[in-house]
Symmetry: C2
């Protein structure tokens, strides 16, 4: 071959500013709340007369609450009205609130967010939970002013891409330049649909293989492990 | 090739009685208790001043309690005395007891055990838990007279093979003719060390791939799914 051709820039790519932005899921990704959510849903469903194995609930955490209840109802063959779904979601919120005191941030989460901020890397949090539930977590994370996109602000939560698309827009960064970090296959599916790269964390209790099959190009243990490998995401820290 | 040679019988094989025996794990395999154990351990460790991510606890459930605490202490870099371990195990037992009322059997568990019994297939339960914790589960399972081997009866719990070896001996069936059914990689590792075949269940919250890598030659969702595929284990029901 004589001569080379310059590669065309992918949509949304800016050679002047190639720095990525990071879009984080919240539960199981930054705070250690997945297992509390799991048992809160189990208790809510039980109060609603729905007996369902706990592992099936675990595998649905991170998706929209409405979708979660519909999916679980389908698995049990029940017909639920919109009122039923609403009531179950309220049971869950009450039960989760009762357990909230026991929830901590995941190892490395605070340092990771601070490092991104001081490195000038834009980041946001996008969660299928609602704002009332998510807001207190920002204080735990030492980031009360973080860009936060919640279920109340979009039409559809994960695995639809809306939450990540809105978060990218808030940061002013095209989705193609964003890296989504999440612990559930619903995060990774939503990331793919948003056209972002996806990174998985084991801290929500999924296995590595499940996350890779759902589209994670890297899987780390938790925020601390991700922080130790930030270079693999193309994050350059100022020297 | 002229003529055929008769295959030698593997150790412990009896052509007169080739029926397998089934050795079940308890938590996450027959009863839906893994997530309650996980949060009970999280609470016990917190009371003991040990902060540990919940997913790491989940991945240790099913192994001996002493080994679990030692492993978790290693991950956190703490030095624990035998007294510390004993105290944490007591905290866990108290917390688990407090939540016990919410625990149910997994779908299909009762029918599966009854089907094996009426088909003349010997079966037993072998758990890393102690007898006081395991005994009430037999009533839930409708099998108060089941052969039960618990942590108190062996030197080492899983992933050592002792529990399954004793269970096989109690049934009078060589381990090589036993199929171990469990939800955790510790069950599957112990099964391999006992020289038994291993089958995994997703009902403890591990991913399929994790169980296959740990030696499961088949993975089913839960006892109901296993019951629907009993023929794949070589279990012949009387016509």
């Amino acid at each position: 071959m004589a001569g080379t051709t310059e590669a065309p820039a992918p949509a949304g790519w800016d050679y002047e500013d190639p720095r990525p932005a990071i879009l984080f899921d919240l539960d199981g990704t930054l705070i250690d709340s997945v297992y509390v959510h799991v048992l809160a849903w189990a208790e809510a469903l039980r109060r609603g007369g729905i007996e369902l194995s706990v592992w099936r609930i675990h595998r649905r955490i991170g998706m929209s609450g409405g979708l979660l209840v519909s999916a679980l109802a389908r698995e049990t063959g029940l017909e639920l009205t919109a009122d039923d779904v609403q009531r179950l979601a309220e049971f869950h919120a009450l039960e989760y609130e009762r357990q909230r005191r026991s929830i901590t941030v995941l190892p490395g989460a605070r340092t990771l967010l601070r490092t991104l901020t001081t490195s000038g890397i834009p980041w946001a949090i996008a969660t299928s939970g609602n704002e009332a539930g998510a807001r207190p977590a920002l204080d735990l994370l030492g980031a009360p002013g973080a860009v936060l996109v919640t279920r109340d602000q979009v039409r559809y939560a994960k695995p639809d891409p809306d939450l990540f698309l809105v978060a990218a827009e808030r940061l002013g960064v095209p989705p193609a330049r964003c890296v989504v970090v999440g612990d559930s296959i619903w995060d990774l599916l939503a990331a793919q649909r948003a056209g972002a790269l996806a990174v998985g964390l084991l801290s929500g209790g999924y296995g590595r293989d499940e996350l890779e099959r759902a589209g994670a190009y890297r899987v780390y243990e938790d925020p601390a492990d991700l922080l130790a490998h930030l270079d693999e995401l193309g994050v350059r820290r100022p020297l």
